[in-house]
């Protein structure tokens, strides 16, 4: 009998034995492990620096094994600018939710992207504020109920969902922009590849990379884990289609 080989193992990028603080079915924990796996595959875990946004992503501080600071709400793009410019050999990423990146941090997000700062943005878009209790985010879908849009998001009053990958794709400087998800194993593998590619580009000094991960929030969507997968595919993917928006590295080849 051939010797058995471990084909899937827990990444060293998350704390050994730790259980995440995220809700059941929440894909924040998936994204956390993918970041660890991507950095580990590149042999760069010891260079990894996390600039953490505010919100549910704050739970990640008790889960990851890399150097870390916490930015004020929305300021991760600015903090990461300071970190990366002062420590260019570090592998720096921001971890931000939709409220953090697209509402309170919009100026920092756009400006860092426009400067082409050489760090990676991991943007987790679940269409709602999680930690604070399910308020409307800029990415909340039209008609979607939240604790601050009890009758559903009304475009007349609240405007329309913001498509951050598309908006950032209007800028000249960014190097790589892709929107992925984690709803199936295939999508998880694709998401890991995207994060790894973004990290690789950073290590090569290519500049600003954004990986948007469209995820569910079973708790604040008020759906069980499996129904939230349906909502993710039926509604979120329609508003936020997955795919590569820009890959200057592929174009150069």
């Amino acid at each position: 009998m051939a010797e058995e080989k471990k084909v899937y193992t827990r990444t060293k990028g998350i704390i050994e034995g730790a259980v995440s603080g995220f809700c059941p079915g929440c894909m924040h924990s998936t994204v956390h492990k993918l970041i660890g796996e991507a950095a580990e595959e590149l042999g760069a875990l010891d260079k990894l620096v996390r600039v953490e946004g505010v919100g549910c992503c704050g739970l990640g501080q008790f889960y990851v094994t890399c150097d870390e600071t916490i930015a004020a709400h929305g300021r991760a793009g600015a903090v990461a600018t300071g970190v990366k410019r002062s420590s260019p050999d570090s592998l720096v990423y921001t971890y931000q939710g939709d409220g953090d990146l697209a509402a309170i941090g919009l100026a920092e997000t756009m400006s860092a992207a426009n400067r082409g700062e050489n760090f990676t943005v991991i943007f987790v878009n679940n269409g709602i504020y999680g930690m604070t209790g399910g308020q409307m985010a800029p990415t909340t879908l039209v008609g979607m109920k939240s604790t601050t849009t009890p009758k559903g998001r009304d475009p007349e009053e609240h405007g329309y969902p913001m498509h951050m990958s598309e908006i950032i794709n209007q800028l000249t400087a960014p190097y790589y922009i892709e929107r992925v998800s984690c709803d199936t194993a295939q999508h998880v593998i694709k998401a890991r590849k995207a994060i790894k590619k973004a990290f690789q580009y950073q290590l090569e000094g290519r500049g600003y990379c954004l990986v948007e991960i469209v995820t569910s929030c079973p708790t604040n969507w008020g759906l069980d884990t499996l129904k939230s997968l349906d909502f993710l595919r039926d509604k979120m993917f329609t508003e936020y289609p997955l795919g590569v928006f820009r890959d200057k590295g592929a174009e150069e080849k």
Binding site: D67, T69, I70, A72, A78, A80, T81, G82, S86
Partner: protein, 359 residues
């Protein structure tokens, strides 16, 4: 090598910072401190540093927070209404105990106020530069030379205490030119020694099991424990109190002023001395920690009154003076604000009125 040059306050501040080892600067344009970022944009690339023009003051102070978290010497500057936007990042630095230096070249307020010089941010600077009740050493220069010396030393103090340090100056000091002796460039060895305390927390990437965290905030009773530690550190600042007691040996009339107001008061009290009036001055050099003892320990049998000279209406440093003096002598205010400068005549007239009442 120390060299004597003729320099504008803002540019002298910037050059002194570079010589102190500052290698990162982020800032946003605001009058009257624009020469600091402009100088840094030219100068920092020459020494391998990085300059970023932030998209706002909020972004700039957060860039400063990020840069300083990697263990390098980093600085920013702004003015009054811009400094208000710094509260977020400064509070984060104080919470995470990140050493950094920033400069407030004060202008008129409140709100957008006026672009001309003022001293209207005293209470904000010394008591509450952000949420959470943290404290900072706040240095208040009254000459371009002091601007230089204080910025140079501010980084050392910041690293000693692992805490932000603020240089509180004003539009007059920032725009005037004076001869200054510039300090020598800090050597890499010197900087390494200063940084040693912070380096284990520097977020630059570490091997597994040696992770560095620069965290503002904590969970459980962690935050309170941090606050207790910080409070104990603030208690050690008695030794850092700096004050100039000018002609105080026999003074009966005491001017109390800092920064530009102290320069004006000094000229006026010299005139008064010529007229035979025994005037002196207490000039807080550190406005935080405030030199309460200089006021508390006055000989109240001899001192007939205190003249608080500030470019702020209403008066702000008066709170600290009152706290120390406790109504043991009358206090007179001579004030301007909103970008209007105090003149020698105004201070002299105010002093003469007061002297007639109390002497």
């Amino acid at each position: 090598m120390a060299e004597r040059v003729f320099m504008k306050g803002t540019e002298a501040i910037a050059e002194a910072a570079v010589r102190a080892g500052c290698r990162f600067f982020a800032g946003y344009p605001i009058t009257p401190q624009n020469e600091i970022p402009e100088y840094m944009a030219r100068r920092l690339p020459e020494v391998g540093g990085s300059f970023v023009q932030g998209e706002s003051e909020v972004a700039s102070v957060n860039m400063l927070y990020g840069a300083a978290s990697t263990g390098i010497r980093a600085m920013s500057s702004s003015s009054s209404c811009g400094i208000s936007l710094y509260s977020e990042g400064v509070s984060y630095c104080a919470s995470a105990r990140i050493p950094m230096v920033y400069v407030n070249v004060q202008r008129g307020g409140p709100g957008i106020g006026a672009i001309q010089p003022a001293q209207q941010d005293y209470l904000q600077a010394t008591k509450a530069s952000g949420n959470g009740g943290f404290r900072m050493i706040v240095l208040a220069p009254d000459s371009v030379q002091e601007c230089v010396d204080m910025v140079y030393e501010a980084f050392d103090l910041a690293e000693r205490d692992q805490n932000p340090v603020l240089l509180l100056t004003d539009g007059v000091m920032g725009t005037m030119m004076e001869p200054v002796v510039l300090p020598e460039m800090r050597s890499d060895e010197e900087l390494k020694a200063f940084r040693e305390k912070f380096m284990p927390r520097a977020i630059v990437g570490h091997p597994l099991g040696q992770q560095a965290f620069c965290r503002p905030g904590s969970v459980g009773d962690g935050q309170e424990q941090e606050n207790i530690k910080a409070a104990a550190m603030y208690e050690t600042w008695d030794k850092d109190v700096r004050v100039e007691e000018y002609m105080m040996d026999d003074a009966e009339i005491v001017f109390a002023a800092y920064g530009i107001s102290a320069r004006i008061s000094r000229a006026v009290l010299r005139e008064l001395r010529k007229q035979g009036i025994k005037a002196g001055m207490i000039r807080p050099i550190t406005v935080s920690p405030f030199p309460y003892d200089a006021f508390r320990n006055l000989d109240f049998d001899r001192v007939k009154g205190i003249i608080d000279v500030e470019m702020s209406i209403p008066a702000q440093m008066r709170w600290d003076i009152d706290f120390a003096v406790q109504n043991r002598v009358p206090v007179k205010e001579v004030l301007r604000s909103g970008g209007q400068l105090l003149t020698n005549d105004q201070v002299m007239n105010g002093a003469m009125e007061f002297i007639k009442e109390v002497l």
